[in-house]
Symmetry: C2
Subunit: 263 residues, 2 copies
């Protein structure tokens, strides 16, 4: 699995990804999943990838080929982030179409997803999630983060704390904790972690860091966080047990279309 | 969805469940998913259910029918928790066998899972997870909690903090926070929450509570927890950005069986 996370706030953009790839539990390797296509001073474009590695790699190859060939439409020339995300989505559709029939024959999952974040001069910053089908979602003030891959373990920490007006420096810390929580709960998500922080209207990546396995700062953050959680638990009010509760026989039973009801 | 959680520690057992059932987003209702079959003084048996509601309900009906008919083999007579979990598993197999062929015709999910926890005089406490196929897992000192249903959102908080020697009162708080995190991140998991705490060798449920929507204690706990997380964030060391990182071109690329690699 992968876990990639993008956060868009009023003051900037954070993009983060792990680097573990697995083709079954006995074939685990390291692949970069966060790619910087920025042209400093003019545009910042960062792409994260999750899903079928052969497809995401080929999409990136096509993107790089267009850049190298100095084609009319490339990440260096497209006029705005909307065109950028449509362009990446169309590359994804092109590669998927080539391979899907063959993968389907053997029931191999061809799904993959992309995060595309950045800012092009003349616009505000944008963050998009591109689905396997090439359509895309945009981060908004109400939902300022987008995730791909193994998204669930790292979501509660963001749901509890992150807002559109969170300073981008704080958002970078949230991102690191969200990745660390995911690594802790799912062994198929693992370091090195790639983390990028971008300040709105700076038009260059402000900070980029890679955290390798056993990185002292990562160890320090995890220890700090777990100690903080334990302290918070210790200070948490005791459960007030004395309250009404329904016995099994008094539970409300409503008619429900049983055949499809799941709980 | 459902989220049910069982925790087995040296000092006791905690079982917890939400009560939201959905058959599609436009058919959401409330069903109890935590059932107490204890015989105070002699045995404590608590069952939680997740999955296809028609099947889990019918399994409980058969269990209750055996109790009412005072059959030789019932939850009141089985000599140990191992026999109890085999018995519940066999009921599940019986009900599944009846319905599976019909559900399969319309591609309806027949999967369901059970948690069975408790203690019978003469034994230590046990906690089991029964799979849809009727086989089962046991909680152990290394992995003292078992989850069914929507398990991921509530797992990081347990992975970070819970151990086999955690006092059972504290484990009950963890359980409540784990459920609350899940509710916060997945709207199909919802109150009332059912929570049971059992102390080893007491042979009766020590505490049971139901937390309805807007329960003042639940609101207090959530506020406290989110404030604690925010404070912990504020105190968290700033990211040390100055470190080596690999550029895209220097990333290690190993051969991988591309057709099946997912990241």
């Amino acid at each position: 699995m992968t876990y990639c996370l993008g956060i868009l706030t009023t003051s900037g953009l954070v993009m983060a990804a792990d680097s573990r790839t697995n083709a079954g539990v006995d074939y685990i390797s390291t692949y970069q999943k966060l790619f910087d296509f920025s042209v400093p001073g003019e545009r910042v474009i960062v792409i994260c990838t999750a899903g079928n590695l052969s497809i995401t790699q080929e999409v990136l190859t096509l993107i790089r080929r267009d850049l190298k060939g100095q084609l009319e439409h490339s990440l260096n020339t497209l006029p705005n982030m909307y065109e950028v995300v449509r362009y990446v989505g169309s590359k994804l559709r092109e590669v998927s179409d080539t391979h899907r029939p063959w993968l389907s024959k053997d029931n191999i999952d061809h799904q993959c997803t992309f995060l595309v974040g950045g800012q092009i001069r003349g616009e505000e910053p944008f963050l998009y999630l591109i689905y396997s089908q090439g359509n895309f979602l945009q981060a908004t003030p109400e939902t300022p983060f987008l995730q791909i891959g193994e998204t669930k373990y790292g979501k509660p920490i963001l749901d509890r704390t992150l807002r559109f007006d969170t300073p981008v420096d704080a958002a970078a810390k949230y991102a690191l904790l969200s990745l660390d929580s995911t690594m802790k709960s799912n062994i198929s998500v693992g370091p090195p972690l790639d983390l990028i922080m971008y300040r709105t209207n700076s038009f260059e990546i402000g900070h980029r860091a890679e955290f390798v396995l056993g990185d002292p700062f990562l160890v320090k953050v995890r220890k700090f966080w777990e100690a903080s959680l334990r302290r918070a638990f210790e200070e948490m009010p005791d459960i007030e047990w004395n309250r009404s509760h329904s016995s099994p026989s008094s539970s409300l039973v409503l008619p429900v279309p049983d055949a499809i009801a799941t709980d």
